[in-house]
Symmetry: C2
Subunit: 229 residues, 2 copies
């Protein structure tokens, strides 16, 4: 029997590639998504398609009330910045940062892993071409791994040792795109844009679109997802 793993899946390029990597490493993948009040809730449709296409044995979507907490352009009435320069994007933490989001996501992944008897959790964070979110850095995921092994029954009883896998952590966006192609991930199923156009295309201007564009351009590949710009 294959070893079980919980894979966080937003439906974007990074998490889809992470799911493909976990599968290629031989894990039985249990994909986990969140309906957290994000303005680009359409990403959950992509998550569903990606989970099915990549052979996840199960796909669970949990509701979270992050809109009641607010504090982010993704969950409150704050404009998402558009057309920022690379320099602007690499300075500070943007308003699209959702407070403690990855801590909340990983906590749920940990709970589910414990119930499934899994000790491996995958998350598609990367610390190179990223949006400056503090909870995408290796020191964060390492600290979470330490916490996980103190927080849980399995960790305490010494039956298992939780690991947080971050296979993209040192990859550029172009390398992620290339890795996705190597693994035959159908990137037409993925969704990255924070502010979808009324006609359903990606906006092409939010940070997430700009990083995705940069990745495809540098990988010299065409993005199969239509973009307005």
């Amino acid at each position: 029997m294959a070893t079980r793993a919980v894979v966080l899946l937003s439906g974007g390029l990074d998490s889809a590639t992470t799911l493909a990597i976990a599968g290629a490493e031989g894990y039985e993948c249990h994909a986990l998504s969140f309906d957290y009040g994000q303005r680009h809730v359409c990403e959950l449709e992509s998550a569903k398609k990606v989970a099915a296409a990549l052979g996840a044995v199960q796909h669970l979507t949990l509701r979270l009330d992050l809109r009641a907490i607010g504090g982010s352009a993704l969950t409150a009435d704050i404009d998402v910045p558009k057309g920022r320069s690379e320099e602007a994007m690499s300075t500070g933490i943007p308003v699209t940062y959702v407070p403690a989001r990855n801590t909340i996501f990983l906590s749920h992944a940990l709970a589910w892993a414990e119930v499934l008897g899994a000790q491996d959790v995958f998350i598609g964070v990367n610390a190179l071409d990223y949006s400056g979110y503090p909870d995408c850095r290796p020191e964060f995921t390492e600290a979470f791994e330490k916490l996980a092994n103190l927080a849980t029954q399995a960790g305490v009883e010494g039956k298992s040792r939780f690991r947080v896998h971050t296979p993209l952590i040192e990859l550029s966006k172009a390398q992620i795109v290339a890795r996705a192609y190597e693994l035959n991930v159908d990137l037409s199923l993925t969704w990255s844009c924070y502010v979808p156009e009324p006609d359903g295309r990606a906006c092409g201007l939010c940070d997430s679109c700009l990083l995705r564009k940069k990745g495809f351009a540098e990988a010299r590949l065409a993005d199969p997802v239509p973009s307005a710009r």
Copy 2:
């Protein structure tokens, strides 16, 4: 202006006392509860009354989908043990343990703290007369504090330093009851029982009831909450 704090509030004896302590220490208290699919959801009514009685400036109840994860007698179709001996209660981790619950609760508290500009989070865990839950131990809350300071905007920018306050961590249940009386907490408003009787009384037999009874008995005080046994 008083310093803001987020206080986790289940509506039980411990969290009510913790809220009173935070208030007595001068914090402006923002109470946080969770509707997580717990079988004793009536505790949320108590949380509401306790928050009001103890002067919390705000009380937020967030919905969580822990029933979809299951794995606990509190969130799945598993019997809650009754009438266990002290020895049995002090051995191993019981089936009422909810996987990663305090990690999930603290993650949300951290998110809300960040939005409120608070750097203090209170949680009423205690490591003496407790149910053997791994996420009630000091090493757990210390690890969470480390994580919190890596996970967040404020922590990264050095603007603040998150602290997880555990004022009950070294108290016995009797000492907690005594502290609640000193602080004039109306304990008739609190609720601890996991399996309320049909007539609304506490069962008197679940681990939570037994620990509460032990606390009142050792403190030589009468519990104002009616119990069937």
